[in-house]
Amino acid sequence: MASPVLSVNHVVKTFGAKRAVDDVTLDVMPGDIFGFVGHNGAGKTTLIRAIVGVGSFDEGDIRIAGQSVRTDALACKRVCAYVPDNPDVYEFLTGIQYLNYLSDIFEVPVEVREDRIRQYADRLGLTSALGDLISSYSHGMRQKLVLIGALVHEPALLVLDEPFVGLDPEASFHVKEMLRELADRGSAVFFSSHVLEVVEKLCDKVAIIKQGRLRACGPVADIVGDESLEDVFLDMIERDAGAGASGVR
C-alpha cells in the first residue's frame, strides 16, 4: 500500500488557553483530492499554515512525503506548494518575473518551467498579462498567478486555502480540472473551502473540523451517504458536540 503524502498525527496548536487545533489526525494519500471544511475560526487555516511551514504547532507531528515538518522542514517545502486564501504576492514584479522567481527557488529547469507556465497560463487566460506588473492585476488574476506558481514545480502535495474565491466561473472550471489532473499524476491535493458543492463533487475524501477537533473524516461517499455534504455539515454543526471525533483517520 502506498504511503500517505500528507500525514497529520495528533497535532495540537494552542493560542493562549484556546486549542485552535485539538488532536487532529488525518492522512492524505497519493491521488487524493482532500476537502477540509469547517465554519469560520474552526481551525482550518491554522492547520494549513502548520502543514506548509508558515505556522508552528505545539504537539504531534506532520509528515510530508515521509519527512517531518518539524525536523526536516526544507525537505517538506521542496515537495509542497501552497496557495493562501489571500493571493498577496510581490507587486513590484511582473507575472513572468514572479513565476521565474518561484521556478528558480524550486530549481525548475528553464525548458520545463516554460512548458508548464505556457500550458497553465494559456488555460487560465493569463498569458497576455504575464508581462504586466502584478500591482495591475485583479484579485482573480493574482489567484490564477499564485496557482500557476504553485503548479510550476509539480508538487507532490498541493495545499490550497479557499482556492475558488475570486475566480470567474471559467477559471474555476479549469482550476478544478487542473487539480484533478495533478491528482491523477500521483500528487495529493488538500484544500479548505466553504463551497460545499465543490468539495462534494471534486473531492475523494473530506474532513469536517469544528472548534479545532475533527468531527468526521473519510471518503466523501461514506460521510455523505444519501444526503448532501451541506446537510451533513449543518447537522453536525447544529448537534451538540459533546463527544468529539478526534483521532478519526
Partner: protein
C-alpha cells in the same frame, strides 16, 4: 470633526506598531515608547545644537538680523522637503484607501487627517530649527513683545505655504508617474539630482568659510536674494525685527490662504489621483516568443532572492533614497575631493600643518559616516509584508533568505565605498596606514550597519504596514541603525584623533566581530511569521 479625530487616531495608533504591541505585549510597547523618546531626545539635541550654532555664526559675523530670516526659511523648507518625501504614501497610494474611502466620512476629513500628520512633522522640524535660532537672536538683539509674538506665530505658520507647495508638487509627481511604467526610476533620478544639488549648494557656501569678510558679504547677498525669492520670509522677519505688523499680517495671510486653497484642491483631486494610481495599467502584450520570456534564465535560489530584493529596491523610490543615498553621497564627496585636487582648488598645503596630519585620521571615518547610518537590510524583512508566506514557504534555509538581503546591501555599498576610497587615496598624499584605513573603516561600518539592520528587523519584523513609508522611515530598526552608526563613527573619529590608527584597527575588528555575531544570531533565530 469627530470623523477627523477618529481617522487621525487610527493613524496615530499605527505609529511604530505601538497599538499592536500594546495589545500583544505591553512590555514591548513600553520599550518601543522609551526607545522612541530616546531617539527623539537625541534628534532634538543634535538639531537644536546645530541650529543655534549656525545662528551664533551669523551673529559673530555681524549678520544678526539675518538670523530670523534664515530661521523662517530653514524651518519652512525643511518641513516642505519632509512633506514632499512623505506625501506619496500618506496622501496617495496607501493600502487601506478602499476601506477608508468606503467609510461614511467626508473626503475633506480623510484628507485633513492625512495632511495633519504631514503638518505635524513640518511643525516639528520648524520647532527644532527655528526656536533655537530665535533664542540666539533674542539673546543677541533684544526683542520686543510684538517680536516675540511674531516669532511664536511664525513657527506655527511658516510651514504652511511650503507644505502646500510640496503637496502640490507631490500631487503632480504622483499624477504624472501614474502614467509611466518606470516612473519609479525617474523619481529616484530626480530625487538624487535634487539632493546632490543641495549638497553642492552647501559645499559652495561652506567653501567660503574661513574668510570672514567674504562670508559676511556672501551672507548679506544671500539674505537679500532669499528675501527676494521668498518674500513671505522677509515679511515675517520685518514683523520680528521691526515690529512691522502689516508685513507680518501679509505673511500670515499668504500662508493661511494658500494652505486653505491647496487643501480645497487636494480634497477635489484626492479621489481622481488615487483612482489613477490604483487603476490597472496592463499592456497585455506578453507572449512566450517575445523578449520577456526569452530573458528567462535558470538561476540559483540565492540569485533569485537577490534579484527580487534588488527589484524591490528600484521599484520603491522612498526605500532606495532612504537606504542608498549615503553611498551616492560618499562617491560624490570623493569625486569632489579628486576634482578639487586635480584642478588645484583643494590642496593640503592650504591647511595649517596640525590639521594636515589629522586629515588621514579623520577621512576614513568621514567616508564611514555616509554608509554607517543606513542599510537596505533594516526594513528588508518587514517589507515582505503580507507576501511573507512566499518567503516562509520557500524551500531554502532562513539563512539563505537573510543572506540575500544582506548581500544586496553589501553589493551596492561596498563598490561605492571602495571606488570612493580609491578616489580619495590617489588625490591626497596620505600615508599607507591612512590609505588602508580608508578602505577598511568604511567597509567595516557598512558591514556593521548591514548586520545590525538585518538582525533587528528579522528579530521584530513589522509586517502590518499600510504604506512602505512605515517600515522604511518609521521602523525601529532603521532608527537604531542611524543612531548606532552615528555613535560608532563619532566615537571612532574622536578616539582615532586622540590615539591614532590603532583605534581604527581595533574599531574595524570590533565592527567585524559584532557583525558576525549579529548575523549569526539572526540566522539562528530564523524568520518570524
Amino acid at each position: 470633526m469627530r470623523s477627523l479625530i477618529l481617522l487621525s487616531k487610527i493613524q496615530l495608533l499605527g505609529l511604530f506598531g505601538i497599538n499592536r504591541a500594546l495589545h500583544a505585549d505591553p512590555a514591548k510597547a513600553r520599550r518601543i515608547l522609551a526607545l522612541a523618546a530616546l531617539g527623539a531626545g537625541v534628534v532634538v539635541l543634535v538639531v537644536s545644537a546645530y541650529s543655534s550654532g549656525i545662528a551664533r555664526s551669523f551673529v559673530q559675523i555681524g549678520l544678526t538680523e539675518v538670523v530670523p530670516l534664515v530661521a523662517v526659511l530653514v524651518g519652512s523648507v525643511a518641513g516642505a522637503v519632509a512633506a514632499f518625501l512623505k506625501t506619496n504614501g500618506v496622501l496617495f497610494g496607501f493600502k487601506d484607501y478602499d476601506l477608508v474611502m468606503s467609510l461614511p466620512v467626508p473626503v475633506s476629513s480623510v484628507v485633513l487627517s492625512r495632511i495633519a500628520s504631514l503638518y505635524a512633522m513640518s511643525l516639528a522640524f520648524g520647532l527644532l530649527t527655528m526656536v533655537p535660532a530665535f533664542v540666539v537672536y533674542a539673546a543677541s538683539a533684544g526683542v520686543s513683545a510684538v517680536g516675540v509674538a511674531c516669532m511664536a506665530l511664525s513657527v506655527v505658520l511658516a510651514p504652511l505655504l511650503p507644505l502646500a507647495a510640496a503637496i502640490v508638487l507631490a500631487v503632480l509627481v504622483a499624477a504624472v508617474s501614474a502614467r509611466f511604467r518606470h516612473a519609479n526610476i525617474a523619481v529616484i533620478a530626480l530625487t538624487l539630482a535634487a539632493t546632490l544639488a543641495l549638497v553642492f549648494g552647501s559645499l559652495a557656501l561652506s567653501s567660503q568659510a574661513g574668510d570672514e569678510a567674504a562670508m559676511t558679504a556672501l551672507g548679506t547677498q544671500l539674505a537679500s536674494q532669499l528675501a527676494t525669492v521668498f518674500p513671505p520670509a522677509a515679511w515675517a522677519t520685518a514683523g520680528i525685527v521691526r515690529g512691522d505688523l502689516a508685513a507680518f499680517l501679509a505673511f500670515s495671510a499668504v500662508n493661511v490662504v494658500v494652505a486653505g486653497a491647496v487643501l480645497a484642491l487636494v480634497v477635489r483631486l484626492f479621489v481622481p489621483v488615487n483612482s489613477l494610481l490604483m487603476s490597472s495599467r496592463p499592456r497585455g502584450t506578453f507572449s512566450f516568443d517575445g523578449k520577456g520570456a526569452a530573458a528567462a534564465k535558470a538561476g540559483s535560489p540565492l540569485r533569485a532572492l537577490m534579484a527580487k530584493e534588488a527589484r524591490l529596491l528600484v521599484a520603491t523610490p522612498i526605500y532606495f533614497m532612504n537606504a542608498c543615498i549615503g553611498y551616492v553621497l560618499v562617491l560624490v564627496a570623493a569625486i569632489a575631493v579628486a576634482a578639487g585636487t586635480l584642478t588645484g582648488a583643494l590642496s593640503l598645503d592650504l591647511l595649517p600643518p596640525e590639521l594636515v596630519s589629522a586629515i588621514g585620521l579623520v577621512l576614513p571615518w568621514g567616508l564611514a559616516f555616509f554608509c554607517s547610518i543606513s542599510s537596505t537590510t533594516a526594513a528588508s524583512v518587514s517589507l515582505e509584508g503580507s507576501s511573507r508566506w512566499l518567503m516562509l514557504t520557500a524551500p531554502v534555509p532562513a539563512s539563505t533568505v537573510l543572506w540575500s538581503k544582506a548581500a544586496v546591501n553589501l553589493a551596492i555599498g561596498l563598490p561605492f565605498l571602495l571606488v570612493s576610497a580609491v578616489f580619495v587615496a590617489v588625490s591626497l598624499p596620505l600615508d599607507a596606514l591612512s590609505v588602508a584605513a580608508l578602505f577598511a573603516v568604511p567597509s567595516a561600518s557598512c558591514l556593521l550597519a548591514t548586520s545590525l539592520g538585518l538582525a533587528l528587523d528579522a528579530r521584530r519584523p513589522r509586517y502590518d504596514w499600510t504604506t512602505v513609508y512605515e517600515p522604511v522611515k518609521r521602523g525601529m530598526p532603521v532608527l537604531v541603525v542611524v543612531f548606532v552608526g552615528m555613535g560608532f563613527v563619532a566615537a571612532g573619529m574622536v578616539a582615532t584623533l586622540r590615539f591614532g590608527h590603532a583605534v581604527s584597527l581595533l574599531a574595524v575588528l570590533a565592527a567585524v566581530a559584532a557583525s558576525v555575531a549579529l548575523y549569526r544570531s539572526a540566522t539562528n533565530r530564523g524568520l518570524s511569521a
